[in-house]
Symmetry: D2
Subunit: 359 residues, 4 copies
Amino acid sequence: MGDSLGQIFRITTWGESHGGGVGVVIDGCPSGLPLSEDDLQYELDRRRPGQSKITTQRKESDSARILSGVFEGRTTGTAISVMVSNQDAKSHAYDHLKDLYRPSHADYTFEQKYGLRDWMGGGRSSARETVGRVAAGAVAKKLLHHWDKIQTVAWVEQIHEIKSSVDKHTVSESQIEASIVRCPDPEASTAMIERIHEVRKSGDSAGGIIRAVVRNVPAGLGEPVFDKLTADLAKALMSLPATRGVEFGLGFDSVVLKGSEHNDAFVMSEGNIRTSTNRSGGIQGGISNGEEIDLRIAFKPTATINFEQDTVSRDGREVKLKAKGRHDPCVLPRAVPMVEAMINLVLVDHHLRNQKKRI
Amino acid sequence: MGDSLGQIFRITTWGESHGGGVGVVIDGCPSGLPLSEDDLQYELDRRRPGQSKITTQRKESDSARILSGVFEGRTTGTAISVMVSNQDAKSHAYDHLKDLYRPSHADYTFEQKYGLRDWMGGGRSSARETVGRVAAGAVAKKLLHHWDKIQTVAWVEQIHEIKSSVDKHTVSESQIEASIVRCPDPEASTAMIERIHEVRKSGDSAGGIIRAVVRNVPAGLGEPVFDKLTADLAKALMSLPATRGVEFGLGFDSVVLKGSEHNDAFVMSEGNIRTSTNRSGGIQGGISNGEEIDLRIAFKPTATINFEQDTVSRDGREVKLKAKGRHDPCVLPRAVPMVEAMINLVLVDHHLRNQKKRI
Amino acid sequence: MGDSLGQIFRITTWGESHGGGVGVVIDGCPSGLPLSEDDLQYELDRRRPGQSKITTQRKESDSARILSGVFEGRTTGTAISVMVSNQDAKSHAYDHLKDLYRPSHADYTFEQKYGLRDWMGGGRSSARETVGRVAAGAVAKKLLHHWDKIQTVAWVEQIHEIKSSVDKHTVSESQIEASIVRCPDPEASTAMIERIHEVRKSGDSAGGIIRAVVRNVPAGLGEPVFDKLTADLAKALMSLPATRGVEFGLGFDSVVLKGSEHNDAFVMSEGNIRTSTNRSGGIQGGISNGEEIDLRIAFKPTATINFEQDTVSRDGREVKLKAKGRHDPCVLPRAVPMVEAMINLVLVDHHLRNQKKRI
Amino acid sequence: MGDSLGQIFRITTWGESHGGGVGVVIDGCPSGLPLSEDDLQYELDRRRPGQSKITTQRKESDSARILSGVFEGRTTGTAISVMVSNQDAKSHAYDHLKDLYRPSHADYTFEQKYGLRDWMGGGRSSARETVGRVAAGAVAKKLLHHWDKIQTVAWVEQIHEIKSSVDKHTVSESQIEASIVRCPDPEASTAMIERIHEVRKSGDSAGGIIRAVVRNVPAGLGEPVFDKLTADLAKALMSLPATRGVEFGLGFDSVVLKGSEHNDAFVMSEGNIRTSTNRSGGIQGGISNGEEIDLRIAFKPTATINFEQDTVSRDGREVKLKAKGRHDPCVLPRAVPMVEAMINLVLVDHHLRNQKKRI
């Protein structure tokens, strides 16, 4: 009872790492949108493991199949079902994890909740679950572009201690995609790639920060008082695996400013009401004000590492866990399309919720 | 269509700064809980303006009245309605705000959304709206204590640049309440009070950080994959006015650690499975693991200041706004009970959602 | 967790027969609708006990107060809170019901569910609970009229064995209101009034059937596959006290027709696509087709009667119940505005859900 | 935005008659329930076209595949995804329907709503959509049996004018399944089969009534005031294709009884509180009272007939429609498992909603 997100554009994801597949049902997509499997595949390929030498080398082809809701190339307005089959996987690769809890994974908490768990590849807690989100996000992206040319751009701002310098107002998707670590600052990108290789070699992992901006957002999105745009974005982003924090505009840094330093003055610009600064990150009182939405998400370092770690077994004995095989030393490059997907899903839902607000 | 929060323990708030009152309907409270208006009043008094010399001096008595759902001193299981009447207010105090947009307030965004706005005291965007949340939170607090002695403790960790040092494991509500700024570090408390007086005198305002821990949380709360406990807490907290960011455990600081430095090892302790560290903040894979929940929320400086500010009028002219009268230079002390309320509301809801998870 | 209805235009009712009052919070009403307490009062007066000599003589003035969501005479788009205070009531009138279960009332089932019950006047199961529905329905009625002149007209079609004959296409609200039993067939109306006097005198009660038509419904309302217009209307109507069945178009009578006799042929009429008959009652595949919606609801005879009845006490003894005081021999005249309210609430919600269905 | 049903046990169906398949995602199923594809297949086979000589002869094998949520033979507590692939179908069989509206079908209303429609086999309005419901209903059936041996039994009570006589208290599933028309009255069954052959031969269709009882229902299911058990059952049943009405207990017949004739007296029976009669159909005040739930659903005659019918084309010309090929003259035998599924889905959801109602 937590596999759905959204009020009007409502997605329901399903699937585990090692079952028949993963997928999503999208309820509430308007009719008439041209949609093909290729539209989804582009985003799934950005999320896919094995796409570059710095991600996990586990191969997943992740071919999307649209099973319903599209007729003669256009959405019908009824439920869109998308499925990605799982490849055959060697289940015995997980045998040694069956009876113990990996530190900082969801093994223990799932078992506390449900009394049992699917121990192959993390089951439902696997990041493979995000396939359905990214597929649905691709539909959302098309809708946002169609309506108002709303565009979400996310990139890796920091990995471990390596920070980047990026002009958030002009950075483009192609600049971001030119870096396999999805950091459009070439110098930082090189350093980040090197750092990822280092932590991989040592069997360790690294976290980081993803930044996102959304352009061309109309004023008025967000529903007082609980479904503020900040609130719904925070929820959607914090539902991604490994997230530890989210902030909007100046975020935590805003607390060292005084009100007179933080307020965004309104000005007239080419006949439009705008703000001269955007410390609020495009959202005031939980409602978009027409400026760029600006946010940051913190991802902890991946819990899977090739170190011997202390843990306990299901029957309560203290044991040593030595992880086997390849691991993904840094999830951030692949998390960029996930972040974009979550933002786009929230924006489409709020766009649809914002209809007929006035008689 | 955003005035409700929660799936099973579901609250719906209503009311503006200057209408007939503010209130909340609580749907889904179990029957049999002893409940009186005094239970609510204690928390409302902590939220009330004018409670100390450092908050706004606007007087609100905020007397809670329970209109339904309680019979012979116990909850009946049906909808609990709580109302707090508004005092008569001088509406002409707001006349000068009628036709312009206060910077970094919700005036402009509300009007963009709805085409009109209640310009008295901010209407629905007023922090007065949180009265209903705090009243409902008082019910949630009683339930959590009754079930598992779950206890949420929040305090002011930072105001402007002044940071405090607090032992999060032992800090008590009485220590916090002993400080009018709700910071249980006496030295920092004194400095914070002084800083608030300074910004007030200069007509300015300050933001800060509230920290909260939750004790005695059972393992298993949180619903994969979208309604993770982190996600629902983030949403609830980010729905409070003036919030700019939220983080769990090490939060944004986790990104400079490697996996081997960040993972929380499982250990046996007095026959129970525990973690030797708690960098995760008590939540793994979006589900509570039985350790203390630990989180921080950033509040921007209050938008209302007594400075002349640039802004524009409803008809698109650039004008000067000179705020009149008293303002609240720092909302954080009063935000402490709001933060606790939001956390408690989410925990009660997730506790109720966590029933019969196994056949 | 069942006190709310609707997805976008969402109402939450609260209140019992003998607490502080009854009311409703309306979330999702578009802004800009002129709304006054008089708008609500007209419908509440039609629902009110004691409005004529054939209803219960219990006096309730039922004055509506709008506490929020209306500013300068217009809705603001935020939550509208409406309250009707309860009059002081003699609680000892219910003392004899405290420890036993009235047959075919909800006393027993509420206590089985919640472990305790508010035994004054039925608590939350009292028909007084419908005050909030009728107040919210008045808002819905105004919206429907404003948008498309959609008009719901309901009347008493049958009481006990007395059937009426009414032209459903032309019957008007004023014709219905001209009869205190709300049956616009004068002959049947007279007979119904007499029958109600009879059952009252004998301490008994009568049920009946309410029929409703909705005019000027646009085609397209209703959401496949679960939120069909028939399905949501059925739910809303069956949530009224004392309802036992609902049917659309020919309803149960349709089963004795063959497909060739039942199908509604499409024809062109003045340039519009219409059906030559309307056996479907204006809804096909769960979506309105632009013809009149036509439905009927069965109400059982009121459970409260002045007869000695067999029942059992809370501690499991077989006892005799002899009801005291006045009772309402037939709820149907007062149920007419309740039926209209439920239909209007569903239609407004579906109207709002039907926005931007196409890109 | 209408493809989901339920609050805690929540199903989302997808799929059309002629896309990649049909299916359902079940969110909120407790963990630990033994579940196999065979469990689903049994119910799908009862729903399947071509299962006997009186149903449509279109062949659908309808093999269920469980794609997620089951691990080592037991449910995991996370989303269960079930898919049934569509067989290759001759799409040109529908070419003649592309540009006109079949009378009393959803062709016209879908197109009015969405601006376009999937004209192959009815698209989303096809009864094939119920595959997902029946698969999910099979899971619900297992849960209900596991918890309280709750058993739903439905049968065909009437087809066209042919009524049956069945002892509702003792009738068993095997008696019902012994009749291809699913009427356990052998004489009526024979007459019904003959009538179906007649209408088929003449190219016509017949409707009828399905009756259902639910045994071993615990008292206390149903959520005041809108989510009454009657209300939610009514909605779920009226969301099935071709339904025209629903009634509980004596239903429409209750209106000719007086209160003294209709009330169900409470009595003690073997130490339990029971009612001596069950005119209420097991539900009082919207909450189950522990007696048998008893309800009836009216199905109109199938809209597809082999008659020449008047209709109009998409471009507004009056035309003749002559249906081609085989049709299903009476949907009722196949609707029996659909009715059971909807009832079981509602009961499981309400069972789960009824947890921890008391502190």
